[in-house]
């Protein structure tokens, strides 16, 4: 790891100032579980680390509108096992616990989880071309190693840029963020221009022709909290994560499904609200309200679920090794929705 200057501010404003002083060379560090790894591989080479662990952002608070505010520095483990999260947002607990391992969840923070970078192997290997890593020769050549390389874990949606070219097919690896997308969480940030909020759907971005940027944060901005809206879909939800082995692997495809069901008549239930988000398939958690709209007002049946799956996968494109993900994703959606509607057990 290259040497760096280490700063440890105690307030949000001071942290933002420290970072803004050298926006290209400084990085925040929270749990460090992703950043330190990348620094060891020389993928990230900050010359200043601003340790934010002493900032007062480690609480979970109830909001007046019935929602919940998760501090950026609350660990993933404390969030997943928090009684209010378990009770009102079980989908979020399940998604967090499906990710990483116990020791990592003990260290990883909610803020850091939003920023974790892709697991594309070419991104980690500085001898391979990578447009996402590339910002100068010290970080290896430009190009995309995965596009014509081994791309089993890569994206099938949202990969084309406006000019029809493909610059990066990496996926966002977070499980937590898939649940946050389904729950319509809101990210709170503080920066040199003050505070603002970003809906989770606008927080991460598609690669376009600037895959270096994973999100829409401006230089110097710090995430202070994640707000969960009052409706946690706590009765009917499922997080289904499919991977190459049963534990401790990133998702090939994951689905966060959440439903509200109403008894419409004696013959059964009808879906009155639906949320559907996917992980492992794109540069950001993948959600389309059109797919959800196909569920509302319908009975929860595999056919109905299948139509929503087709809509969410509309435009999907494989790159060879990952083409199987298109069919896998459709089946995963049907299964996750069936689990959420309690038509199928969760294992």
């Amino acid at each position: 790891m290259k040497p760096f200057q280490y700063l440890r501010p105690t307030g949000v404003d001071a942290a933002v100032r420290d970072l803004t002083a050298q926006p290209d060379a400084a990085k925040f560090i929270a749990g460090g579980t992703n950043l330190i790894d990348l620094m060891k591989e020389h993928v990230e080479q900050p010359t200043t680390l601003v340790d934010i662990n002493r900032l007062p952002l480690a609480t979970v608070e109830e909001l007046e509108d019935g929602g919940l505010r998760l501090g950026a520095l609350v660990t993933n483990a404390d969030t997943a096992y928090h009684p209010l999260v378990e009770q009102r947002y079980p989908l979020l607990s399940k998604a967090i616990l499906a990710g990483a391992s116990a020791q990592l969840r003990n260290m990883a923070t909610n803020g850091g989880n939003l920023f974790q970078r892709t697991r594309c192997y070419y991104f980690y290997d500085t001898s391979m071309p990578c447009n996402k890593r590339h910002s100068g020769p010290s970080q290896g050549p430009a190009g995309c190693g995965a596009l014509h390389g081994y791309n089993r874990i890569h994206a099938i949606l949202g990969t084309e840029s406006a000019d029809g070219n493909v610059h990066c097919i990496a996926t966002h690896p977070s499980d937590m963020c898939v649940a946050l997308a389904a729950l319509e969480a809101v990210v709170r940030v503080s920066g040199p221009q003050g505070e603002r909020t970003i809906p989770i759907a606008d927080f991460h971005r598609l690669p376009g022709d600037t895959p270096q940027h994973d999100n829409t944060l401006r230089p110097g901005e710090l995430v202070t909290a994640i707000d969960l809206p009052a409706n946690g879909f706590s009765h009917y939800n499922s997080y289904l994560k499919l991977r190459d082995r049963a534990s401790y692997a990133f998702a090939l495809v994951s689905v966060a499904a959440a439903l509200e069901l109403e008894r419409s008549d004696a013959s059964g239930d009808q879906i009155s609200a639906a949320r559907l988000a996917m992980g492992g398939v794109a540069h950001k958690p993948w959600r389309k309200t059109e797919a959800e709209a196909l569920l509302v007002g319908q009975r929860p049946t595999p056919d109905v679920f299948g139509r929503a799956a087709d809509a969410l996968l509309d435009g999907a494109q494989g790159y060879g090794h990952n083409t199987f993900k298109i069919e896998l994703a459709k089946r995963a959606i049907v299964r996750a929705l069936s689990q959420a509607a309690k038509l199928e057990p969760t294992e």
Partner: protein, 189 residues
């Protein structure tokens, strides 16, 4: 930079480089070599220690991040029963009883992870144990005897908690863990 860390009950004040990883601080500066480095990429779990009572991977953690914290390593797990002797922790006993180790490289990390599990869940099922161990890799045992060892510990635990800060513990004949006294601030370089 200077850090102060309470390691296995003993407070240490040390000068470290900003980029020193906790595992290197423990092994190279404190000579507590029970904590192993397997993968160095937070995958294998061999480097698991407790920081403020929870299991974390010390290979992806700056020593600076542990400044002001209490750290427990495998050397701090044995329970002191007299000024000069100590008893193995039930988990250590369990690994011995059930052949929970072959080469032993993964064992310290397995024990530290299992200790965290037993704190929250004193009677875990086999499935719960296997799930809790997802971040610990063993190339020798096939895990069966590790699961049994943890079950053994769960049923033989008199004191499931490793000593944290209250009383220093003596685990071995080690240069640094042997001569522990409470509250003393020791300079190490």
């Amino acid at each position: 930079m200077q850090i102060q860390v309470t390691v296995n009950g003993k407070t240490r004040k040390s000068e470290v480089e900003d980029r020193t990883l906790l595992v290197h601080y423990l092994r190279d500066q404190l000579h507590l070599t029970g904590t192993h480095v397997g993968c160095d990429t937070s995958s294998c779990g061999a480097c698991t220690v407790h920081v403020d009572g929870v299991a974390v991977k010390s290979c992806t953690l700056l020593a600076a991040q542990a400044d002001g914290c209490a750290v427990t390593t495998i050397e701090g797990m044995a329970i002191q029963d007299s000024p000069t002797t100590s008893q193995l922790h039930p988990l250590q006993e369990g690994f011995k009883e059930c052949h929970g180790l072959q080469c032993g490289f993964c064992t310290p990390g397995m024990i530290m992870t299992a200790a965290d599990l037993l704190k929250h869940n004193p009677n875990p099922s086999e499935a719960e144990i296997r799930e809790a161990l997802e971040g610990n890799i063993c190339r020798c045992t096939g895990y069966h005897n590790i699961v049994k060892a943890i079950q053994w510990a769960a049923t033989h635990s008199t004191k499931p908690e490793p000593n944290q800060q209250e009383e220093p513990v003596v685990a071995d004949e080690h240069l640094f863990t042997n001569d522990v006294t409470t509250g003393e601030v020791v300079e190490t370089h």
